[in-house]
């Protein structure tokens, strides 16, 4: 029972770490590249405009998709590793 508990706590910690990492990327592409850092990225041209604009209207959405699938894939591995999957 004690083992089960520490095992489960370990699983939850790993999950929270993974979420934190994913959300850093999530915030970086949307609030960062697309909004706050746009002036810094203004010199990188992308098809008639700049990289910040591309992130705001395309890049962040594409990154979001990758993030969710990455998270789902890593969590499946965690579920298996800790024997908590179904």
């Amino acid at each position: 029972m004690a083992d089960d508990k520490s095992n489960a706590a370990e699983y939850w910690k790993a999950n929270v770490r993974l979420i934190f990492g994913c959300l850093v990327v999530w915030a970086f592409v949307s609030y960062g590249c697309a909004i706050l850092f746009r002036p810094i990225l203004a010199n990188i041209p992308v098809g008639g405009t700049d990289l910040g604009f591309w992130f705001a209207q395309q890049g962040s959405i594409l990154t979001f998709i990758v993030l969710i699938f990455f998270y789902a894939w890593r969590m499946n591995k965690l579920d298996q590793k800790f024997g908590l999957g179904e």
Binding site: A8, I19, L36, V46, G48, T49, F53, Y71
Partner: protein
């Protein structure tokens, strides 16, 4: 065949499909009615979620908002997609593990309080009712434009169709009709976009075409658009915004609002396992992105098309835009689609300087030297998507497809919202709070009656839209983000959060957000009752009322933790409940109740 007959054929065929599904997918139990039996494949659910999510506003209005707002409107794109990332990681899998039917179910059980449950029911109903009105009016507009019936008949027709599959099929009927509706709406949205991208840039993929070269002038499309609009006094399409704080908060408000909207969350209760809820969120975003990545291309290209329709000489221009601006088209030479939309009142022309030409520009800039005395053309944002096929001279069947697509977008979202409303009434209010002894059969009947009642209410409000109907973004997203999202998240991520803290937090988030919105948009949205004029100068730190949901959410978190830390810990069984939702094992055999 006349255009009317084509439209009738497309819309009629889509209705036959929806009703066929309704007959096939009847609900036999409350589990069928609330969560489609719980056995929906994650990809199927992803598609249904995409249709559930993409409303009449996404289909009809978003490209228009982007066309007029340019870069400044990007918050809509990021906000309405980025919410799925936090939904997939912070809410959906755990709420699926919890294994019950509604959002108030979780809040009431986790915070062991019927007061918390009741606050959640009220928030859910306000947010969903506000949202559903826009779907009914959107369906009304689509019907009246394409099927030449009155707005009133359009809304009644929409209500009847939803009634047929939602009352009999519940979530089960809704799920499979949403899948069909997704296919209809995405095909309808994409085909004209592909044609237009190909016409303007030679690249048939809209999301690439947008960043390619404009064929006629040899200039990159977005640069071309900047040049054209700035020659007419409008702000550059790609211009940066000054108030970055507001843009960040606006985007964040839409994200937390998206994650907290009950009609989206309950879709994830229909998949078999916790892992499926995660995958399903990814698939939902893939299907949503097909439209959301195309919308900015449609917006920018439609804006350019509109401008070069009015100023034909601008199209091939490389530098002499001032000269090209001198010769807008003569009103009598306007194209056919222009006339069609003038009849609806969504395009209006007023020849201020009586020269017979259409001067379309931003009259905040003085162009007296060009002999212009004021802007002469107003174009409603909403027509850009609807008129796209006509502007691009596409065949009649594409217009029929757009009609069916717009109606599918409105109906699919309306059905999802109506299910969220009716299950909150029949399950949370009647079964859990008022009469726990009600039989399975009795609850089914209550669910069907609540659904019928919710449809009648939505129809009535669609026919007589109240003042708050136009405030979906402020009200629905504000409430879902400031009240429901933080409560759900703390219920999962904090074992220490107790009943008093959660209730105080929800109320604080809700009340602060409403106060801020009412101050600028009018008390209870009654026109003229706003305390301060709704202009950026008056906003606190430049934060618009539409961006306040994120602040409301922060207030919710802060108050909840403060109150919770000075009040009693939650009982042991609640801590065990929190532990159990964190671990996926056993969700497949979630307790029926």
């Amino acid at each position: 065949m006349s255009q009317f007959a084509i439209n009738l054929l497309f819309v009629g065929a889509s209705f036959v499909l929806y009703i066929g599904i309704a007959i096939w997918a009847r609900a036999g139990s409350t589990k069928d009615f609330y969560v489609a039996g719980g056995g929906v494949h994650p990809i199927t659910n992803g598609m249904a979620t995409a249709a559930d999510w993409m409303s009449a506003a996404s289909f009809i209005s978003m490209a228009g908002i982007l066309a007029s707002g340019g870069y400044g409107a990007s918050g809509f794109l990021m906000g309405w997609t980025g919410g799925y990332v936090i939904l997939a990681m912070l809410l959906a899998p755990y709420l699926r593990k919890f294994g019950k039917f509604t959002v108030p179910d979780f809040i009431g059980d986790r915070f062991y309080s019927n007061t918390a449950r009741f606050v959640a029911i009220v928030c859910l109903i306000i947010a969903s009712v506000t949202y559903v009105i826009g779907q009914m009016t959107g369906a009304g507009v689509a019907f009246s434009r394409f099927l030449e019936v009155s707005n009133t008949w359009g809304i009644w027709l929409a209500a009847l169709i939803v009634f047929l599959y939602a009352v009999f099929g519940g979530m089960k009927g809704i799920t499979y009709t949403q899948v069909a509706q997704y296919v209809v709406l995405i095909v309808a949205y994409t085909i004209p976009a592909v044609f237009i991208a190909f016409q303007l840039t030679g690249n048939p993929i809209p999301m690439f075409g947008m960043f390619s070269t404009h064929t006629e002038s040899g200039v990159p499309l977005l640069q071309k658009l900047d040049d054209v609009v700035s020659a007419l006094g409008f702000q550059d399409y790609t211009a940066d915004v000054d108030n970055k704080l507001n843009m960040v908060l606006f985007t964040l408000s839409l994200m937390v609002g998206t994650a907290g909207l009950p009609h989206v969350i309950i879709r994830f209760f229909t998949v078999p396992k916790v892992a499926d809820a995660r995958w399903s969120a990814g698939w939902a975003l893939v299907f949503i992105a097909l439209l959301y990545l195309t919308a900015p291309a449609v917006g920018s290209m439609a804006r350019l098309n509109l401008m070069t329709t009015v100023y034909p000489e601008m199209a091939g221009q490389v530098e002499n835009y001032d000269e090209a601006a001198q010769t807008p088209i003569l009103y009598e030479d306007r194209p056919e689609w222009f006339r069609t939309w003038e009849d609806t009142g969504l395009i209006t022309f007023n020849d201020v300087n009586n020269d017979g030409r259409i001067q379309f520009y931003n009259d905040a800039t003085d162009y007296a030297d060009r002999g212009w005395e004021g802007n002469e053309l107003t174009v409603n944002n909403d027509i850009l998507v609807l008129a796209n096929p006509e502007i691009a001279n596409l065949p009649g069947w594409v217009i029929g497809l757009i009609a069916a697509g717009g109606i599918a977008a409105a109906l699919s979202t309306a059905a999802g919202l109506l299910l969220a409303i009716s299950s909150a009434i029949s399950h949370d209010l009647i079964k859990t709070m008022i009469n726990p002894k009600i039989s399975e059969k009795g609850e089914m009947l209550a669910a069907r009656i609540s659904m019928g009642g919710a449809i009648l209410l939505a129809t009535y409000l669609g026919l007589n839209p109240p003042g708050f109907a136009a405030q979906t973004v402020a009200l629905a997203f504000g409430i879902a983000g400031a009240s429901l999202f933080p409560a759900l998240m703390m219920g999962i991520f904090s074992t220490r959060m107790n009943n008093v803290g959660a209730i105080a937090g929800m109320l604080a988030g809700l009340i602060c957000t409403l106060l801020y919105i009412f101050t600028y948009l009018g008390w209870f949205f009654i026109p003229g009752t706003n305390t301060l004029a709704n202009t950026p100068d008056n906003w606190i730190l430049g934060i618009s009322p539409l961006s306040f949901g994120a602040i409301g959410a922060m207030i919710n978190f802060a108050v909840a933790f403060a109150v919770s830390s000075v009040t009693a810990k939650p009982p042991q069984e609640i801590r065990e409940l929190v532990e159990s939702v964190r671990y996926p094992k056993g969700a497949g055999v979630a307790i029926d109740h």
